[in-house]
């Protein structure tokens, strides 16, 4: 990975505070075209908030989000907003809450067409819905079924088809697999990879499961308490973690092997308070660690 492709998204010093709660407290990262950036962290660390701020579901407190060269949180014309909605889409966590129970699969997938006045011709629309259903591995005939008639994995695929309906270039996947069975998780992740290959999509993949994130991501950002503590390529993060929190997370991944499990020791993480002098250090090219100078030096020695 010597030559990085174009940046599709730049997040600069993003802050999102809800009252006194600092959900996201000054994070910066870039997403390159065609890659998958995994965003991991424990519950409540601000990873979903980051995703929702990027797609404008929340008004940000401070910072800059630049998507395809344009600041997306400034004043925008209706036309620019519509284009933004087409270019960036989201896949949601809960396959039960993310589909309206009063709508059929076809209505859910074509909701974007109504909003953007696309495919007014009935036959054309039906054809497009059918193609979308098939592209996520569902049957064309399922368009008239209601959400409750599908299984969790099938519902999640309807959610994916909805996100694809407007032909976006960038998709934020907000824990798309954490509510699914393990066997179905692999199915959905493989579908996402296949769609990425076919359509040249860029993903921001939010999850709390490092092993699954490693499988799908090119680069990984580890978040904790509203900060990105470590950011690097998936292999670097996995094989050469620097920040003690990343090490602790990695030590918690179980392996399906009783012999190695018997000897596996978890590394507890002890949080050290960092003051204002903490900043992002580039320890290898493209591998960033957040901390004070002394801390990073000490961690790196280990």
């Amino acid at each position: 990975m010597n030559k990085m492709p174009e940046k599709i998204l730049e997040v600069k010093n993003l802050k999102q505070h809800f009252g006194s709660i600092k959900a996201v407290d000054g994070i910066s990262f870039d997403v390159y075209e065609g890659e998958t950036l995994g965003l991991v962290g424990e519950s409540g660390c601000g990873k979903s908030t980051t995703g929702r701020s990027i797609i404008r579901l929340y008004d940000i407190t401070d910072g800059e989000i630049i998507f395809q060269g344009k600041d997306i949180h400034g004043k925008k014309s209706a036309k620019e907003l519509k284009q933004f909605n087409k270019d960036m889409q989201m896949i949601f966590q809960d396959p039960y809450a993310s589909l309206n129970p009063r709508m059929t699969a076809g209505e859910i997938i074509s909701e974007g067409f109504d909003i953007h006045g696309m495919y007014k011709n009935k036959k054309e629309r039906k054809e497009k819905i059918g193609t979308l259903l098939e592209s996520v591995g569902l049957n064309r005939e399922h368009a008239n079924r209601y959400a409750h008639e599908f299984s969790g994995g099938q519902r999640q695929r309807i959610g994916i088809a909805r996100a694809l309906s407007l032909d976006p270039s960038f998709i934020i996947a907000d824990e798309p697999i954490s509510a699914l069975d393990v066997s179905i998780q692999a199915q959905v992740v493989n579908l996402l990879r296949q769609l990425q290959k076919e359509r040249g999509l860029t993903y921001l993949f939010i999850a709390h499961d490092l092993s699954m994130v490693k499988y799908i991501s090119d680069r990984i950002a580890v978040m904790r308490r509203g900060q990105i503590v470590e950011l690097g390529t998936a292999d670097d993060i996995y094989n050469y973690p620097v920040h003690p929190y990343t090490k602790s997370l990695l030590s918690a991944i179980p392996l399906p092997d009783p012999i190695s499990e018997a000897t596996r020791t978890r590394i507890p993480y002890e949080h050290e308070e960092v003051g204002d002098d903490a900043k992002s250090h580039e320890v290898f090219p493209g591998h960033f660690v957040y901390g004070t100078d002394a801390q990073v030096k000490q961690w790196y020695k280990h």
């Binding site: 929702r52 797609i55 404008r56 579901l57 907003l81 519509k82 909605n85 087409k86 960036m88 889409q89 989201m90 949601f92 966590q93 809960d94 809450a97 993310s98 589909l99 309206n100 129970p101 009063r102 709508m103 859910i108 909701e111 974007g112 109504d114 909003i115 953007h116 591995g137 569902l138 049957n139 399922h142 008239n144 079924r145 209601y146 008639e149 599908f150 099938q154 959610g159 909805r162 309906s165 407007l166 996995y238 094989n239 973690p241 090490k247 990695l250 030590s251 991944i253 392996l255 092997d257 012999i259 190695s260 596996r264």
Partner: protein, 311 residues
């Protein structure tokens, strides 16, 4: 430091055989497609009490429409037979002014049902508008709107109604105004709760990321999903309005003579309980049966709309 797969025993690939997936089969949906409202109807039909209530309501409505129309007597006609017990010519007997109680009872059904349904519709309009604005806009607007509603419920309801009826002179319109002036609060609370819960669901967020405006979200997501709760509340508002109407009429604040409502008839009949008990019994039975029927239908609807609530 890092976990790796090195110490896992190696299993050679040729120990596995690919049997092939059965994707075309797993993705078939076996059950017949049932829409939400069809399922609600099926569940409702399984509830015997609700079906009984439903048919009682149909019978009451049909009688209220046809009896005063087809009967040989009019509700205000004095027939010259006073306090006659029920007989073949006067099924429910006559009252102290010689009027046929059967006709008057079904005339009263018209008034009582009209008052009940109108009050419920007014509650619906004000309550849904008030509750959905409060829930959707939120923040300070929500606070102010809900405090106004709280103040209205904090004042004793009967006091408000009685003062209003005294000021406005008893009649049909003042009765409806009196019933509606505080009645909508309940509906507004329920709609606000529904809106608050629905607006943060992920499918609404998904619609927003697709670029949906507020009108789209209200029409496609909020209304269809809140409809069940609104319907149930409305069905349960009608009997309480009918009951309040009867009760206020009984206190002498009801529609003026010679008009009849179940409440005024029961009030009149009360004076002759020893000598002509049928004058009280028939309107009282009609009030009870109708209220029972509405409540049974309302409960049935609630269970049918939200089966999770049922134990």
């Amino acid at each position: 430091m890092t976990q790796s797969n090195e110490n896992l025993p190696k299993i050679s690939k040729d120990k596995f055989t690919v049997v092939g997936g059965k994707h075309d089969q797993t993705d078939q949906l076996a059950a017949k497609s049932v829409s939400f409202w069809k399922e609600v109807r099926l569940r409702f039909m399984h509830n015997k009490l609700a079906i009984v209530g439903f048919f009682i309501l149909i019978i009451v409505a049909l009688m209220a429409i046809f009896v005063p129309w087809l009967s040989p007597y009019s509700y205000r006609e004095q027939l010259g037979v006073y306090n006659a017990p029920p007989s073949a010519s006067h099924w429910f007997g006559t009252d102290d002014l010689g009027r046929d109680i059967f006709v008057r009872a079904w005339m009263g059904a018209r008034i009582s049902l009209f008052i009940g349904i109108t009050a419920a519709v007014i509650d619906l309009i004000i309550g849904v508008a008030w509750g959905s604005i409060a829930g959707l806009v939120g923040g300070r607007v929500d606070d102010i709107m809900m405090r106004i509603a709280d103040v209205l419920t904090a004042v004793p309801y009967l006091l408000v109604v009685i003062i209003l009826l005294v000021v406005l002179q008893p009649g049909l319109l003042p009765m409806i105004i009196a019933l509606s002036i505080t009645g909508w609060v309940n509906m507004a609370r329920i709609v606000r709760g529904e809106v608050l819960s629905i607006k943060s669901r992920e499918y609404v967020l998904a619609a927003r990321t697709l670029g949906a405006n507020t009108t789209h979200i209200i029409m496609k997501h909020l209304v269809p999903n809140a409809l069940g709760a609104i319907l149930v509340t409305m069905t349960l508002t009608i009997p309480s309005a009918i009951f309040t109407e009867s009760f206020l009429s009984y206190l002498g604040l009801g529609v003026p003579q010679p008009m009849a409502s179940w409440g005024t008839m029961a009030s009149d009949g009360n004076n002759a309980l020893d000598t002509a008990p049928w004058r009280l019994i028939f309107p009282a039975i009609l009030i009870s049966v109708t209220i029972f029927a509405f409540n049974a239908v309302g409960d049935g609807l609630r269970d049918a709309l939200d089966p999770k609530l049922r134990k």
